[in-house]
């Protein structure tokens, strides 16, 4: 009988404890893999992508609140800014594009963002990627061109079963029970192709429509025609680039100047979001610690089950030795058994971990519009198999040494 058949037979003989050990290692690894993948993908989405916006011009208040509201359609904008001030910023030589918007409406739980039409036609949500209405990309229709037309983001359209030609009345507010603009009917003329960003989770209407909604007071309606009285929630700002595509360093001077004003501030998402991750970094650390403890406990379980199996198999192993097996072969049997169990646990853990991400990705996309992918390989994935192999070797080492030292005569002598 060859070496590998003996190893497999031994595993089969102890299948209950072997399967239990494989599962416990797999659970630890799965948690480790899932936490790392979610962490890296979330970090990439919230910090590196920037969602096509170099900066957000907004009112005074928490910069994080402004980023979450303007880019992720969460929270609420802390105030409004003057249109005339926005126009001054738009004229600044460093600014290449400024897209004004007004928030504060919703429909079916999704935010309604009143925005300049250029957002749908010129804005790049990722370098080189503009919004698409093309059917081959998954979109439909076209951008709005009149105050009674609207466009839905892909996730909003899917969740609300919106079709081209569907009509809706926006809710004046973002909370349950807020009044509805019942006499205003806006028609969907376009559904954006999926972008995998929070932009999918909003409904877009023309900026001027915000001021013309019938339920708004006269002072808001007058903003449609009188620019000096007009207010907006904020604006997406794109600035000049320097060589290599990096944001022009002058953005710091622009930010400083705007931040000195009484009512306005310039928020750079890529500066704000890493600060958030520094604050909530402990969540990752706790989860990773739990996963690491679980994995180490599984290795200990493997170690004790190997020791216990060794006690039961002393006579078998002594018999192998008597039949000509060397000390090294017997030691190898035990160590490879541990190695196979831990590697099986590692492989199953990888599959489970990515399965968890796949299942969680759907939930996250529905809730936030942020696309996670189960196939994303984090830095941890590459370490899983070598790591579990080392754990398996360590767990099998002591039982293996015991097997190496096994006395043939002593263990073959009659028990009674």
């Amino acid at each position: 009988m060859n070496f590998w058949r003996i190893v497999l037979r031994s595993l089969k003989h102890h299948r209950f404890s072997s399967i239990l050990t494989v599962i416990s290692i797999a659970l630890g690894i799965a948690l480790l893999v899932a936490v790392h993948s979610f962490k890296e993908q979330t970090h990439n989405t919230f910090t590196q992508v920037g969602l096509g916006v170099d900066a957000i011009l907004g009112p005074k208040g928490s910069p994080l609140q402004i980023v979450l509201n303007a880019l992720y359609h969460l929270e609420e904008m802390p105030g409004k800014i003057k249109w005339t001030y926005f126009k001054e910023v738009e004229k600044h030589p460093l600014v290449v594009r400024a897209i004004p918007f007004a928030v504060g409406h919703s429909y079916g739980g999704f935010r309604v963002n009143a925005i300049d039409r250029r957002f749908l036609t010129e804005f790049e949500y990722l370098p080189g990627k503009s919004f698409s209405f093309s059917e081959k990309d998954g979109g439909q229709g076209r951008a709005f061109s009149s105050p009674t037309e609207a466009v839905a983001g892909w996730a909003a359209a899917k969740a609300l079963h919106l079709q081209l030609g569907s009509e809706f009345s926006p809710v004046c507010g973002v909370r349950e029970g807020d009044p509805i603009h019942e006499t205003d009917k806006l028609k969907f003329v376009g559904i954006l192709a999926p972008t995998g960003t929070p932009h999918d989770r909003a409904i877009y209407i023309p900026l001027e429509t915000f001021y013309l909604l019938s339920g708004h007071p006269q002072e808001t309606r007058i903003m449609a025609v009188m620019e000096e009285h007009r207010e907006i929630s904020g604006a997406y700002i794109k600035v000049k680039r320097i060589r290599g595509g990096a944001i022009h360093p002058g953005i710091q001077d622009l930010k400083f100047a705007i931040n000195q004003s009484d009512r306005n501030q310039l928020v750079v998402p890529n500066e704000v979001m890493p600060r958030l991750f520094n604050i909530i970094g402990w969540v990752d650390r706790v989860l990773i610690a739990i996963a690491a403890i679980l994995t180490v406990l599984s290795a200990l379980f493997l170690f004790f089950s190997l020791l216990s199996a060794l006690r039961e198999r002393r006579r078998d192993l002594a018999l192998f030795r008597a039949l000509g097996a060397t000390r090294r072969t017997v030691m190898g049997l035990v160590i490879f058994e541990a190695l196979i169990i831990s590697l099986l646990g590692g492989i199953l853990g990888l599959l489970l971990g990515h399965g968890l991400i796949g299942a969680g990705a759907h939930f996250v996309k529905v809730e936030t519009g942020v696309a996670f992918t189960a196939s994303y390989l984090s830095g941890t994935d590459w370490l899983v198999l070598p790591g579990t192999a080392i754990l398996g070797l360590l767990a099998g080492l002591l039982p293996g040494i015991q097997a190496y030292r096994l006395g043939v005569l002593k263990n073959l002598s009659p028990i009674s």
Binding site: L64, E88, D262
Partner: protein
């Protein structure tokens, strides 16, 4: 979980953002005015010297307006001797500043090209108090020499 936690911590970050760093926001050199009543951040780029008057202590992210149209400076440049330079107002329009009461001053001179080191002296009225204006470039003027205070740029 991270995303759920995100908006739970909005308030927490809001508080954290209140603390301003003791840093030069324009990438220049911070120089203390008076008993750290304020700072002047100075940056030379080619033939242009820019000066921003900002808050004292840790408050260097806030501008301090000066009621002056120009600020004359006497500058000592090692191996080049003494020069005169006049800083002229250049209001930060987006900050709502007006001529004659602003925080940003600029001077241009051909001889500024290539200047890596100098000491400048002048005076300025800050918050109603006339203070000596001493600029040490690129070391940064800090008579209190406090440890842990970074007076350099980004």
């Amino acid at each position: 979980m991270l995303i759920v936690t995100t908006w739970g911590l909005v308030g927490e970050l809001g508080v954290a953002e209140e603390h301003h760093g003791h840093k030069a926001h324009h990438g220049g050199i911070l120089n203390v005015i008076g008993k750290e009543l304020a700072h002047v951040e100075v940056l030379i780029q080619e033939d242009t010297l820019e000066a921003w008057f900002v808050g004292g202590g840790q408050d260097t992210g806030r501008s301090v307006q000066i009621k002056a149209a120009k600020i004359p400076l006497t500058i000592n440049i090692p191996s080049r001797g003494q020069k005169n330079l006049v800083l002229k107002v250049d209001p930060l329009k987006l900050a709502g500043e007006k001529m004659g009461y602003c925080s940003h001053f600029v001077a241009r001179a051909d001889w500024l090209n290539g200047v890596k080191e100098f000491e400048a002296k002048g005076s300025v009225v800050i918050k109603g108090v006339k203070e000596k204006l001493i600029i040490q470039y690129p070391a940064g003027y800090d008579p209190l020499h406090r440890h842990g205070h970074e007076h350099h740029g980004k």
